[in-house]
Amino acid sequence: MEKIIKGKAFVLGDNIDTDQIIPAEHLVYSLSDPEESKKYGHFALSGVPLKNSGLPDGGIPFIEGDNYQSKYNIIIGGSNFGCGSSREHAPFALQMAGVKVIVAESYARIFYRNCVDGGFVIPYETQVKLNDKIKTNDELEIDLENNILVNLNTGDKFQLNPLGDILPILEAGNIFEYARKNNMI
């Protein structure tokens, strides 16, 4: 696992559900075929209504034009991020788009598990709402050893909740690697 992640913030609201992260009509592509799986990146967050996409002003597409990757690699959400369906295609789509970390106040259980057990994205939680303190396009730096997020545009520092029980799984890479390390499989 990297120790420092730097990048641009893409800010979203509360209750970003899995249909907004990857709409159901796109769940038909192969996740392993390299040409097809790129489409998950292309359609990542395409279900977010445009006025809510890239806060605070909205109207910012997560993916520009025909691209398969986003220029934003850190997502700042509100509460209940990833609610809705069990589709693992959701954290996969974010990973394909280039997202490394999500920082949100809280997560829905299945999405959170999927991020971790599949090793797709690091889901950080915060005690306070950050989606009203950080703007889309802000440059951020996350220190994973000390669980600190710094907004390089403003100098603001925010403490993130330690990853706790999920850290060993994220460090191993996914639940299978973790289970092998611990002689479970």
């Binding site: 209750n15 559900d17 907004q20 069990s86 599949g118 289970a179």
Partner: protein, 431 residues
């Protein structure tokens, strides 16, 4: 300190005397269910991780229902079903229900119940968030992603955090204008879409035990709409009768101890509840039908695992009988059994099928259909700025296909009343 029904089942499945909320435990899984959307990636991960020697932990415990994108020309969706078919054939899986054959069942949650896989006291995982539906049978059931499902497929095991429990007691006799959908919309409005995150929602009370199994399943199905891990209802005589008509498999009935610990207990008298809707764009955006009465509609939808069951169609037909629908109205039975029952069940000697057809409804074959949008040729899918009232379980933006559409969730009674007037209508006007 006593234990809740959920804690007792998880203790049994983890081989322990007791478990405490918040503990991470490893569970032995009784049934793994998957479908055409998440089955293919699950199989792929299982093959990748376990390699050439990949073995299925127990073929009898793997149940596969193609149901999401069935009646579509989309080549990739069809490919998904082909992958399941080849997998089931290659590994000689006894519990695969192929589309295009007599074994095809329709929506997985309904099919699990109908085919006798739901057994009190057991533990069921599925690659669908609404897998919590099976909790109506006094069992633990919840949804997982492809990776967790692949892990179960190879090992029969999964790690889970023991959830805290919340109890919802519904006292009183259910009035004829209310259904399980109204009760769960009441709960969602009270606790919100994250009020149950990583928790167990336990339903109790006279009104719950007066319901048939398919109605109870609407309550547990929508536990996930509160973010909950599982919804659960203790098994009673109605449960046992339903199960025994379908299987001879052994089961064990658990119930919560009187001194079990709950995070919160909510008490309702059902006579205080009136017909409810969830307004766009969230299942917890509750309002009374009265307050949104008169909202113009472009489409009505009666289907899905919370609104396409036999009780839902009996309720809807009661209102639609002898009338014409004013807006396009889709009837999508959750299972092929229910589809066939539309011809068997009658009101005043007229079959439900005839009642819906005479009224001008479109009856579609059983599948998940427009409940979750799906490919462009999916029947009943939302277009542009449509305003839809639907018996489905989720109305997040774009869920039924178009981000610009507005979807109201309601009971089959409310949707039927709205279909015959073309505007959102309180079912009490017709009862």
């Amino acid at each position: 300190m006593g234990m809740t029904i959920t804690e007792k089942i998880l203790a049994k499945a983890s081989g322990r005397k007791r478990v405490e909320p918040g503990e991470n435990i490893w569970l032995n899984v009784d049934v793994l269910m998957t479908h055409d959307v998440c089955g293919p990636p699950t199989i792929e991960i299982w093959k990748r991780e376990f390699g050439d020697k990949a073995k299925i932990w127990d073929k009898k415990k793997v149940v596969i229902f193609p149901d999401h994108y069935i009646f579509t020309k989309n080549p990739q969706a069809n490919r998904n079903v082909n992958i399941l078919r080849e997998f089931a054939s290659h590994y000689d899986l006894p519990n695969y229900y192929d589309v295009g054959t007599e074994r095809y069942k329709g929506v997985c949650h309904m099919a699990l119940a109908e085919e006798g896989y739901n057994l009190p006291g057991t533990v069921l995982f599925g690659t669908d968030s609404h897998t919590c539906t099976s909790g109506a049978f006094g069992m633990f059931s919840t949804g997982v992603g492809n990776t967790d499902a692949a892990f179960i497929l190879g090992t029969g095991k999964i790690w889970e955090k023991v959830p805290e429990s919340m109890k919802f007691i519904f006292e009183g006799t259910l009035p004829p204008y209310l259904t399980a959908k109204d009760l769960i919309l009441q709960v969602l409005g009270d606790i919100t879409t994250e009020g149950g995150t990583y928790r167990a929602l336990e339903f109790d009370g006279e009104a719950i035990y007066s319901m048939q199994m398919d109605e109870r399943m609407t309550l547990t199905n929508m536990a996930i709409e509160a973010g909950a891990m599982n919804g659960i209802i203790k098994a009673d005589e109605i449960t046992e009768k339903y199960v025994r008509e379908r299987t001879n498999a052994p089961y064990e009935i658990f119930e919560s101890d009187p001194d079990a610990k709950y995070r919160e207990v909510y008490k309702y008298n059902v006579n205080d509840i009136e017909p409810l809707v969830a307004k766009p764009h969230s299942p917890d955006n509750r309002d009374t039908v009265r307050n949104v009465q008169g909202t113009k509609l472009t489409k009505c939808y009666i289907g899905s695992c919370t609104g396409g069951k036999l009780s839902d169609f009996l309720n809807a037909a009661k209102i639609i009988f002898g009338k014409q629908v004013k807006v396009p109205t889709f009837v999508v039975p959750a299972s092929t059994y229910i589809y066939n029952q539309l011809e068997v069940e009658t009101i005043n000697g007229v079959s439900l099928k005839q009642i819906f057809e005479n009224a001008g409804c479109v009856i579609a074959p059983s599948s998940c259909a427009a409940c979750l949008g799906g490919p462009a040729d999916t029947v009943g899918r939302a277009q542009d700025g449509e305003v839809i009232i639907s018996t489905t379980n989720r109305n997040f933006p774009g869920r039924m296909g178009s981000k610009k559409s507005e979807v109201y969730l309601a009971s089959p009674l409310t949707v039927a009343a709205s279909a015959v007037t073309g505007v959102i209508t309180d079912p009490r006007e017709f009862l």
